[in-house]
Amino acid sequence: MKIGVFVCHCGENIGRTVNCPEVSKACASFPGVVHSEDYKYMCSDPGQNLIKQAIREKHLDAVVVGSCSPHMHEKTFRKACASAGINSYMVEIANLREHCSWIHEDINQATKKAIDLMRFAVERVKFNQPLETIKVPVTKRSLVIGGGISGIQAALDIANAGFEVVLVEKEPSIGGHMSQLSETFPTLDCSQCILTPRMVEVYQHPKIKLLSYSEVEHVEGFIGNFKVTIRRKAKSVKEELCTGCGLCAEKCPIKKKALSEFDEGLSNRPAIYVPFPQAVPNVPVIDRSVCTYFKTGKCEMCKKVCGREAIDFTQQDTFVTEDVGSIIVATGYKLYSIDKKPEDSIYKGYGEYGYGKFKNVINGLQFERIASASGPTSGEMLRPSDKTVPKKIVFIQCVGSRDESKGFSYCSKICCMYTAKHAMLYKHKVHDGEAYVFYMDIRSGGKNYEEFVRRAIEEDHVNYIRGRVSRIYEEDGKLIVKGEDTIAGLPVVIEADLVVLATAMIAQQEAPKLAQTLNISYDKYGYFQEAHPKLRPVETNTGGVFLAGACHSPRDIPESVAMGSAAAAKSLVLFGADMLEREPIIAKVDATTCAGCFYCQKVCAYNAIEKKEIRDRLGNLQKVVAFVNSGLCQGCGTCNATCPSKSIELIGFKDDQIFAQINAFAEV
């Protein structure tokens, strides 16, 4: 092997403390080195030309450059060598600047170290192999998980760019929490009025395949090439036949047994139902846990009244698989259950607020339903217990948020704003009513947000009290709210008719399970983790999987929409090329020596190790060995270190390459 060595002075940067000509001279005597020279600026055009010239004239097989950190100019030198006909992976960099000249003062010591570093690189390059970048085809299709506003936005953006989208929603209808809201801050425009057209657009878009009442079951593959298995839960209604006339729901004899999820339990719904009138798709599902037919085998009322014969009691869950190139996770949030002992929760709850015990203590989403024109009270401000107009209403912020002892240490971000909105909506409907807000701090960062809160205080005369509430109890139909006004330094007691708790936004319960399915990470609260908090906020550590909306952290609507678009843009960047290029630094198995213990599989963080059967010509199983999926392998080499028989090696960082460096240590 003919090796060429090039020592860069980097102007004075290396040359000042390292005697570069001496290094070059020393390198010339290393076995295998046929060319050695030093130059002022190796990375400059003339410098690069020196390398190219030497390659051509001396027919070099490999090149070692002593220069700055490989993180700086490795690419530059590789490219230069490639253009002169050497494989770019036959180039090694010795870091003479950051790791030598800049950190030492003694010229003799620094020069000696520089020679050692050059020797390491020369010994290593002898074991380098020519490698080609890996090219992986891209399936230009996207999967969006979650049909809330963030998922809708992402799906529409991708579809409008001309690529297909599969949108999976676990509920019978898309729309998410935004469809439940009455008005939105800070403009007070009607939530459904701005959302519904988007939902319809999704439904009618030729590039969007909407799978409602479905959940992601299994994901395999890697960036550009995911294979996703989706469970389509049995609706008991044939989607293609149903016209959405609603007669089944109207005639269903079960009217009281089930609480409406859409109305947050404030109203009832039949066993066969669409969540809300504007649902998309407008196809009902049967809730088998309450349906008389499924419980007793009798009734079939819906089946009798359906003119299209769309009811199918025998329907089973089915599975579909979809090939996609990117996945956008937009699974949203839920509200913290603040009952005394929340089920399956390690959190303590707020027993002292009596949520779940007193009918007139409700959470923010329940208030939205009461305020909403499509809600259980048709928009009239009536309290749940006796359907009277509450004359005194108390809002409590930060219930579960910013409270490490009983909830979570994070700020739910949107509660300050929606509480101001709630108070305003209340005052607009009950002019003689009194509204009180207990707050810790008002956090209204956002365009027109602070002005909005001021409006609530100044124009609508909402009473803001800075302090916490210690206890709520019911006495003679009134809720006695005991709190503290920390500014006045006095205890406060308010006899309220209705109390609204701004409970914390929390991650979906199934989030960790989905994270495991997708192989992405999540934080201690169950929120999905981004790849970098500043620079890669919508990407995850798994290539091709992006985040949108409140599944990442508490978000309001404009942020969720922006994040949906950002995730869509990230997918579209991926779809911009036909092939993905990757560094060829991946693990490779020697099937002849692999004993099939699969410890490599256990340590692989990317599920890149598969089982491969080796059969003889007659098809008899010879052995089962590990096999690296080159699309998934990220090149960490943990498998290599774990393998007892060293049958799996990381190309580019093979044992012989590293050993060559360690052996060169003997001459240090």
Binding site: H99, C636, F653, I662
Partner: protein
């Protein structure tokens, strides 16, 4: 023996955190002693304990291993697997009698240039104080004697 002993330190560092942290130390011109030689690996997960033995066999007086802080691994969990291996390996070396003060581990992130300098200088000082790794070097020496030694017995 040389009059003034200068230890040889082999350092195995991960590409993403410690190598970059060492780059930062360079960019910040943080002066340090010149006894350590870095060997770059993609991840601490790649470091086989045999590397450490090989380094001693090749005359290292001390070995330093460094990577990303737990939870920051570029490859999600490589350093967690590495840490578990180190615990076992360290205990094994202890039991066999390889002085554990010749083997150092640290977490140095890409932003901890200063910490890296402190660690390198600290290790060099500590190993310098201990003197050359005679015990291991003795083993290495034996191999250099031809098998047909004068007594006619194979080398032990």
């Amino acid at each position: 023996m040389e009059e003034k002993f200068e230890p040889k330190i082999a350092a195995f560092v991960c590409n993403w955190c410690t190598y970059t942290g060492a780059d930062l130390a360079g960019t910040s011109r943080l002066k340090q002693e010149a006894n350590a030689r870095l060997i770059r690996v993609p991840c601490t997960g790649r470091i086989d304990p045999v590397f450490i033995i090989k380094a001693f066999e090749n005359g290292a007086d001390g070995v330093l291993i460094s990577g990303c802080h737990p939870g920051d691994c570029h490859y999600n969990a490589g350093n967690f697997h590495a840490r578990r291996r180190w615990i076992l390996f360290k205990n094994l070396l202890d039991f066999i009698g390889i002085d554990s003060s010749r083997l150092y581990f640290s977490w140095v992130s890409a932003s901890e240039g200063k910490k890296w300098v402190d660690i390198v200088d600290g290790v060099i000082d500590a190993v310098r104080a201990k003197g050359p790794f005679k015990q291991y070097k003795k083993m290495n020496k034996e191999i250099e004697i031809p098998v047909a030694a004068e007594e006619g017995v194979s080398v032990k």
